[in-house]
Every structure is written in C-alpha cells, then in structure tokens.
C-alpha cells in the first residue's frame, strides 16, 4: 500500500465521524497547548532573568572579598582569608581565570567645577582593565603610566550638583536631574580626604574615560590606578596608625550583591605594625575574570571551596536556572498529564472505531489487505489525530503566549521605572514548536498501538458473516 493512499484513506476514515474526531483532537489540542505554554513560561523566565542580569553586570566577573564565610546559622566556616599579592597570584593560577586585579576602595567629598558631590574610587590594576570587561563609551581606558587619572561610570555625573544653581532655580527641580555622562570627560575632579589625625588632603583627578552603560553595577563608581588609590589610602590610614585607635572606618560592613552581609575586618587588626600579620596593606577585594559563564560558575565554586568569600552574577544565574528548570518540570508535568489523558481519549476513539468498522476491516482482509496495511491504517489515523491536535494546539499556544506577554508587559511596565523593552514572559523557541508537534504525533502513535493490534486480530470470517 502506498504512503499517499494510506494517508488519504486514514484521513477519510477520520472525517467520517467528524464530531468524534474533533472532540478527540480537542483533548490533544488542550494537552499540547498546556505543555507548550507551560514550558514557554519557564523558558521566558530564564531568558528575561538572564537579560536583566547581563544588564546589572558582567556574568564573567567574580568579586573575591576577605572575611569569613558564614553558614546559615551564623557560624564562621573556616579561617579568614587574607587579600595579599600572594592571594592575587594564587587566584591567577586557578584554571579558567583569565585576569586578576587587586582592588582598593576609598571615598570622599569631591568637587567638579562649581558642583559638589562625592566619589567612590576603586583602584585597580590598569593593565588588566580591558580584560576585566571595562569598556568606555567616551575617551579611553586607563594606561599604566597614568597618574591620578580616572574613568567614570555613566551615572557618576549625577553624584554632583550645583548648589547655587539649584537655589537660584528655586523649587523648579525636584529630584535629581539626569545629566549627560559625556560632560565629565576631560574634567578635573577634586577629591578631599581626611585622615584619623584630622589632616586634610586635596587631590585632583582627571577624567580620561566614561564607561558605557552596559554594566549597571559599575555605573556609580570611578576607577583609578591602584597605585594612586594606595597612596591616598596610606594617607588616610596614617592617623589611625598614630592614634592606635580604631577609626570610624575600622569596622566596615559591606553589603555584597548576593544579599549576604559580609563583615570586613581588614582594618581592625588590633596589633598593627607590631607583628607579622600586619593587615593594613591587605587589599579590600580582588576582582577575577573567568573565561566564560560556565568557567565563572566553576571558578566561583572553587574559590568558595578554598574558603574565599566569592560572589558573581553567574552564581545567581545558577539559582535562576535551577528555579526555571524546576518550574519547567512542574509546569511541563501538568501539561504532560493533560496529554496523557488525551492519549487515552485517542485510544478510546480508535477502539470504538474498530468496533464500528469490524465488518469493513474483515472485508479489507478478505480482498487482500495485509496485516501491515490494517495496522498502518489505524496507526496513521491515530497519528493524524495527534498531528492535527498538535498543530492546532501549537497555534493556540502562540495565541496564549501572546496574550500572556501582553498582560505581563503591562504589569512589568507599571512596576519598573527602568526603560527598555520588557522581556517576554512566555517564549516559544523553534525547537519547542517542533518538539510539540513531533511529540503529539508520537502520543497519537503510542495511543494507536493497542487499537491497531486489535484491528489485526479481527477475523475476516466473523466480520463477513451473512448476518
């Protein structure tokens, strides 16, 4: 029997009982649609999370902080790790790490022409800034020979405000005004720092570059050579050394991005200068760049295994992936049950159809339909129900997906101040569409196995008996 004849005959047979076929298809339609929509929600969730995380910061950067790791009940889990040049070398030697830079942070009041504000300065190794995924929108990156040069995050300009102009303008402006980041380029910013002894030092910085807006976690800081920052930091520490007291900066609590509170105890070494474990020169943190997201997760885990306090965006990505996978499994499972019920519907329909067509099957066998022909006819009918249901179900899924996205987009736009197109909640990639149709055909075939084997067993004699 030819394939074409087989399909034509199966198709004809199906539409002899339109209502029943449509109802059976409906089961498959609902099943397919629910599976596709459910899985598409899981996929959409992951994609939108990835998108927004890529906006927040690079997925390949790991920040390593000193301080202990704490377990859930608040007990320290191991020795505190120090951040020294040896540490830098140790981290650089981990496989998958492509760049490492130690980091000092200082901050202070600052002036930009008439405008006043403050600066968070991060000192890094200028040689590896490019590799640490810094990229400028205006100007250039730092060069190793730069002295007191900075590149500024895109939002740094908004740290400065003109008090007098604001007063003149009266109450016209409420809230911070957005300013063009490019205005900062080639400007001189004067930083004022004080040490514990009350001495004051003013230092001019020259802005050589403005970071692009890609990484939101870097947009409020300025970046300078670690040597310059070290000198200013030494000045600030001096007073502390002289008085021997713990200054206000001695105990600093940093809020790290993962939501963990990390007690940074670098600067409160009580026996400063007297013993070998003088920690005043320890780095505040170390920035590590891994080759790709997969490596980032591995390196990040490796660092934690070694007792470091490491955090990266990619770690959260892992959590999100887990959540989305679990969601997909649960949602897909619900859809799967629906489709299973639909499969029972197909089987039921086909078995009924065999009862109705017993005589017809018998005649076909008498005039030369082989076992294979009879089996093929019934399997094809069942598979066609799956195919029709699958295709229509997929169509419904696209519709439902659009509705969900439309409703979802309205909610998201209400809830978020941030611009940019809202990510889709439900995403149906091509592979999911193909999978849905193939799977529903498969379901049809599987559901048709039992009826087809029954059809084969129909005895031609019984079927054609003259009664």
């Amino acid at each position: 029997m030819r394939k074409k004849d087989l399909f034509l005959m199966a198709n004809q047979n199906l539409w002899r009982r339109k209502a029943r076929t449509i109802l059976t298809c409906l089961g498959v339609i609902i099943g397919t649609a629910s599976i596709v929509v459910m899985i598409s929600l899981g996929i959409g969730l992951r994609i939108s999370m990835e998108q927004s995380m890529a906006q927040w910061g690079s997925l390949n950067i790991i920040n390593v902080h000193p301080g202990m790791q704490w377990d859930e009940s608040g007990n320290p889990t191991g020795e505190e790790k120090r951040m020294t040049d040896e540490t830098v070398a140790e981290l650089a030697a981990i496989p998958g790490v492509t760049a490492v830079s130690p980091q000092y942070n200082i901050d202070g009041e600052a002036k930009l022409g008439r405008k006043e504000g403050y600066l968070n300065i991060v000192g890094l190794d200028p040689a590896v800034m490019g590799e640490l995924e810094f990229s400028v929108e205006h100007g250039r990156l730092l060069a190793p020979e730069d002295r007191f040069a900075i590149i500024a995050g895109s939002q740094v300009i908004n740290n400065f405000w003109d008090e007098r102009a604001a007063r003149r303008g009266g109450m016209m402006m409420d809230g911070p005004q957005q300013q063009d980041p490019a205005e900062l380029l080639d400007q001189r910013i004067q930083l004022t720092i004080r040490n514990q002894a009350g001495n004051e030092r003013k230092q001019n910085f020259f802005v050589v570059g403005i970071l692009d807006e890609k990484n939101m976690d870097r947009s409020w800081q300025v970046y300078a050579s670690i040597h310059d920052v070290k000198r200013l930091r030494d000045f600030m520490m001096k007073g502390a050394n002289n008085t021997g007291q713990m200054g206000p900066m001695a105990k600093e609590v940093m809020y790290s991005g993962s939501g963990m509170m990390v007690a940074s105890t670098v600067k409160d070494s009580p026996s400063r200068g007297s013993r070998k474990d003088d920690r005043s020169n320890d780095y505040d943190s170390i920035m590590v760049r891994a080759k790709d997201v997969a490596q980032t997760k591995e390196v990040s885990q490796e660092l934690r295994d070694r007792g470091f306090n490491a955090w990266s965006m990619a770690d959260s990505l892992k959590d999100i992936e887990n959540v989305s996978r679990t969601m997909q499994a649960i949602l897909g499972g619900i859809g799967g049950i629906t489709l299973f019920v639909a499969a029972l519907g197909i089987t039921n329909t086909m078995v009924m159809s065999i009862y109705e067509r017993t005589r017809e099957i018998g005649i076909m066998k008498v005039i030369g339909a082989s076992f294979a022909d009879v089996r093929s006819i019934f399997l094809t009918e069942a598979a066609l129900i799956g195919l029709f249901g699958g295709i229509i179900g997929l169509g419904f899924s696209y519709g439902a997906s659009q509705v969900v996205n439309k409703i979802g987009a309205d909610y998201i736009q209400q809830g978020m101040m941030m611009g940019g197109p809202a990510a889709n909640i439900s995403v149906i990639p091509a592979w999911l569409a193909a999978f849905a149709v193939v799977f529903s055909i498969f379901i049809g075939l599987a559901a048709g196995l039992y009826p087809a084997s029954r059809a084969i067993k129909v005895s031609p004699i019984v079927a054609i008996r003259n009664e």
Binding site: K365, V366, I367, S370, F371
Partner: protein, 230 residues
Amino acid sequence: MSPKPILQAKNIIKKYRMGTQVVSVLNSINLDVYPGEVVSLLGKSGCGKTTFLNIAAGLERPTKGEIIIDGHLLNKISESKMSVFRRKYIGFVFQLYNLIPSMNALENAILPLVFEGIPAREREQKGRELLKTMGLGDRLGHKPSEMSGGQRQRISLARAIINNPRIIFADEPTGNLDSRTTKEILDLLISTLRKNGQTLLMVTHDQEVARHGDRIIEMADGKIIGEKVM
C-alpha cells in the same frame, strides 16, 4: 480439461467445539477444480458448503486435510501472508456484497489495487473501464447505499476480478436478488470469467443458479453426495 487442477481439496475435515460437544461440519471432502471451470456447490442451508468455501479460500483453517491452489499448499501459508496470497490468486463475491459504505463505486472496485500499491491514476483508469463494461459507467461516484442490489453486486464483481485472480469464490452471489437480476448478474459474471479464462467456485442453494455451472457438486451434511456435469 487441463490435467492439473487449480484447486485441490484433499480429505477436508472441519470440526467445531460447541460447549462440550464437538460438531462435525465437513466430513472428508475431496474436490478438484480445473482452470476455466465454473463449478456450482449446491446444498441446503447448514450443509457446510459455505464453510468449505471459506476453507478453500484460506479464510478458515481445516481441522484436517489439505488445500492446494495453483500449486501452493494453503496450510503452510501463515495468517499474515494469507491476505497477500488472496490478493494475488483469489477473488470474492458475497451474498451481501460487502462493499465499504463510505466509498463510492469506483473506490470500492479498485480497493484491491490500492493494497497492491498500484498508482492512483492507473488503478482508477482500470476501474473505470471495468465498471463501464459492467454497465456502471455513469454511477462511478455513487455510494453503495444509493444503488440497487444488482448494481451493488456488479461493483462487487468488478472488485473480485480487478486484479485478475486465477480463481473466484462466490458465496450465494444472487441470494439477495430477484430472478431477473440474478440471471443478469450470473451471465455477466460467467461471461467475464470465460473471457479471461478464470475459474469460479460458486456456492448456492438454488438449483436454477447452480445450473449455470459446468459442473454441479451436491452437498449434504458435510459430505459430497453427488456430481453432475452439465
């Protein structure tokens, strides 16, 4: 008469178990049918003639005995291969026509060719021509339910001979037809067979019908009780 029979039935015995009792339907039937012959199997209802026909056509297995068609021993052909065998060697005509109600005249007539795997254009042309010679040229698109008994049986005849089988089995082919149509159908059937040199084994309870054959085999109680050459 050709020396080699196309159908040989050797000592066919068929028994059924009815509850605890064993009913003997066929008692040692021996029959040879030669190519081109028209043989009538005459007997009263319940004499076992239909059972014999079914066994001879490979639709049922005998309890004992052998059936040989065109040199092939049917006992050795498996159930799954039997359909293909029937498609090649055997045509069927039934009392109740046994057409497929959802298919029109043409589709019914060419159904064996569909299973044979003949391309649509070729088989439809063949079917059209055959039905035309049977006087159904203008009813090709009609469903069986829209046709008279005689017309239905013509479709059934066309279906039986469309793939040129060596032997045709007919079970009371005119049992549901009036006497005028009966004659028409039988004349058509036998003339067509004669033209193609095909063989017919026809079961009937009607003496008149049986008389159309070259030979009449009379059956009673599962046994052959007489033979008459016309």
